[in-house]
């Protein structure tokens, strides 16, 4: 099962289980349409109707505000952006409203809101390419999930729907496994069987995707697969990368990372966001401040260079980390080049 289908399965199961769950977004619930920009909600209107699969105008601020208001009445909306880049049109609702309403009420009001947003460079140019997780990670009041496998996509989205707080679920365009007209060039195929029964993936529990004794790598989404690719390449030369998928950025599972650092003593963050002020910087700073004794060498970040993403595929490939850049950084960290 692909990630797109796993997300659709999660939404379907939650909407069947709980009549207060609704979807709200652009280009959803259009018979003959796409099911959102990346097919995740495709066909759901046939089972759930247009009141619950609610298409909106191109009004990002309006639709997130409406989802917040709906959440305040007891509905559990899943709002989606076609591209995460569009979320900045809704910045007031995402920064000033959703994550502060519970707090401003003194904890008396809950906002059970899920926002889904596709991230990642995919040869569309600077305004359909960003990985804006850090903007939300920075803002108190949000939980942030970053599923990279179909199993996690289903389990994290279901956990997000059941959470009484605003939860951002960032999904990667090249990992959806969308097919047909919505197929992505350079996509990574991450199909895996996903259990049909009810399960959630709890927030704040990282998984080690590949064990290794030399460097602790933390990576999400596309960078997770590129890190695994680099680990494979380096494995042939006897270098072992331990690759950790945090699965959620807020809350973040520092325990798993620290346990790993106890074995490796070396930390490297791989992120597709631009480097300056990214979530990786936060992880590095937190580990350095509180667990610096675990580090044998200074930590490192491999990230997209600090520039908007160019449309040219060649320039995009240069800007975004790939396996060889990750492998080179790892060798440097080990003093091998």
């Amino acid at each position: 099962m692909t990630i797109a289908k796993a997300l659709r399965l999660a939404i379907t199961e939650e909407m069947r289980r709980d009549p207060t769950v609704i979807c709200i977004g652009e280009d959803i619930g259009i018979p003959g349409g796409w099911g959102g920009a990346f097919t995740v909600t495709w066909g759901l209107e046939r089972e759930f109707g247009l009141e619950r699969i609610r298409n909106t105008p191109i009004s990002e601020c309006g639709l997130i505000g409406a989802a917040i208001g709906a959440a305040l009445t007891g509905l559990r909306p899943i709002a989606d952006f076609q591209y995460s880049d569009f979320m900045f049109c809704a910045a007031d609702q995402l920064i000033n409203q959703a994550p502060k309403i519970c707090f401003m009420s003194g904890g008396r009001v809950k906002v059970p809101l899920v926002v889904r947003a596709p991230v990642g460079a995919s040869t569309r140019g600077a305004q359909h390419a960003q990985c804006p997780e850090a903007w939300i990670v920075h803002t108190p009041g949000w939980k942030v999930a970053v599923p990279s496998t179909p199993y996690d996509a289903k389990g994290l989205l279901k956990a997000a729907v059941r959470d009484d707080n605003p939860v951002f679920v960032f999904e990667h365009k090249l990992l959806y496994g969308s097919s047909g007209a919505r197929k992505e060039d350079n996509a990574v195929q991450v199909d895996e069987p996903v259990p049909g029964e009810d399960f959630v993936v709890p927030f704040g529990e990282a998984v080690i995707r590949r064990p290794g004794r030399d460097i602790t790598i933390v990576a999400t989404h596309l960078m997770l697969y590129r890190a695994l690719q680099a680990a494979e390449q380096l494995g042939a030369t006897g270098i072992e990368l331990e690759v950790i998928d945090p699965r959620t950025l807020v809350p973040f599972d520092y325990n798993t990372v620290c346990e790993s650092l106890g074995r490796t003593g070396r930390l490297m963050i791989i992120e597709e966001d631009t480097r300056r002020g990214g979530w990786g910087a936060e992880i590095v700073a937190e580990i350095a401040e509180k667990h610096g004794d675990l580090l044998k060498v200074p930590p490192a970040r491999v990230a997209t260079y600090d520039a908007p993403i160019a449309a040219s595929p060649r320039m995009e490939r240069f800007a975004v980390p790939d396996a060889s850049r990750i492998a080179a950084a790892a060798r440097t960290m080990l003093g091998l080049q």
Binding site: I68, A70, A71, L72, T73, G74, Q97, K100, S105
Partner: protein, 336 residues
Amino acid sequence: MTAAHLPQSGRPPPLPERAQALDLYRTMRRIREFEDRVFAYFRAGRIPGTVHQYQGQEAVAAGICGHLLRTDYVTSTHRPHGHAIAKGIPLQEMAAELFGSTLGCCRGYSGSMHMGSPEYGMPPASAIVAGGVPIAAGLGLGCRMLRPGAMVACFFGDGAFNNGAFHEGANLCAIWDLPVILVCENNFYAASTHVTLANKNPRLAERARSYGMPTETVDGNDVFAVYEATGRAAARARGGDGPTFLECLTYRRCGHSRRDQNKYRDKQEEQFWLARDPLDLARTRLLDAGVAAPSDFQAIDEATAAEVQAALDHGEQAPQPAGEDALLHVFYEESR
């Protein structure tokens, strides 16, 4: 913008029955009394922060909320005290909130500008201009899906009309036929900017009509005019006939915020509106119609003054939170 802009209907709005009419007056009096006394506390440095007050606009909150049930919703703004009082939040809780107390309606987390209470259908007010309009659309959607017959009154000022959030939210209300009254409190000034400086066409109801919803402009200083128009809008909302844009022309008797002295206002305009105090207009109307006697108003005024002072006394003495409570409620917890 003076008399020429007020709707010329040629007849005064009908009066509701006596008890309701006096209730509307009482709500206005409670707002005026609360705001005037709160202002004195601010001036004396006894209440922290800033405050955006509602003196002069009482007829809008009272007339609108006169048609709302406790289970209906309002969204409010940086100027929320009048809406909160009209929606029924107890004055003691409001006063305690202004003093930052744990007994406040938001336990000291909202202060003046984010006042609200879930028990009274008022989510924390949004102090970002127009921020509450899309939220009101969502509240309307929730009303329709979960509690048919319930409705939303969305308060905002003329300043919100030029913010994108208003237009996105208003359009959603229209295309989804949501049970919402969009209440534009046109007090002619977005902070210090006059409505004619910010709008080529300052007749906001005209512009709102283009969204495909009924609109009405009323004398927002005449509580009976607001109440009558709200009756029509509320019937549409509750009956499934969608939103209404209700422009209430009104005027601040106070500054925009705590220390503002309104030096930017036209004197003639000011004179015209300050002579039309909403409480005086209501009192005169009810006396002239023989519906109420001077003693009725005296009784309300005296009782209200005592009630408000008692609320402020309570608020000032109510317990303060611990500093470290600042870290609570970032996330919702069922037990709290």
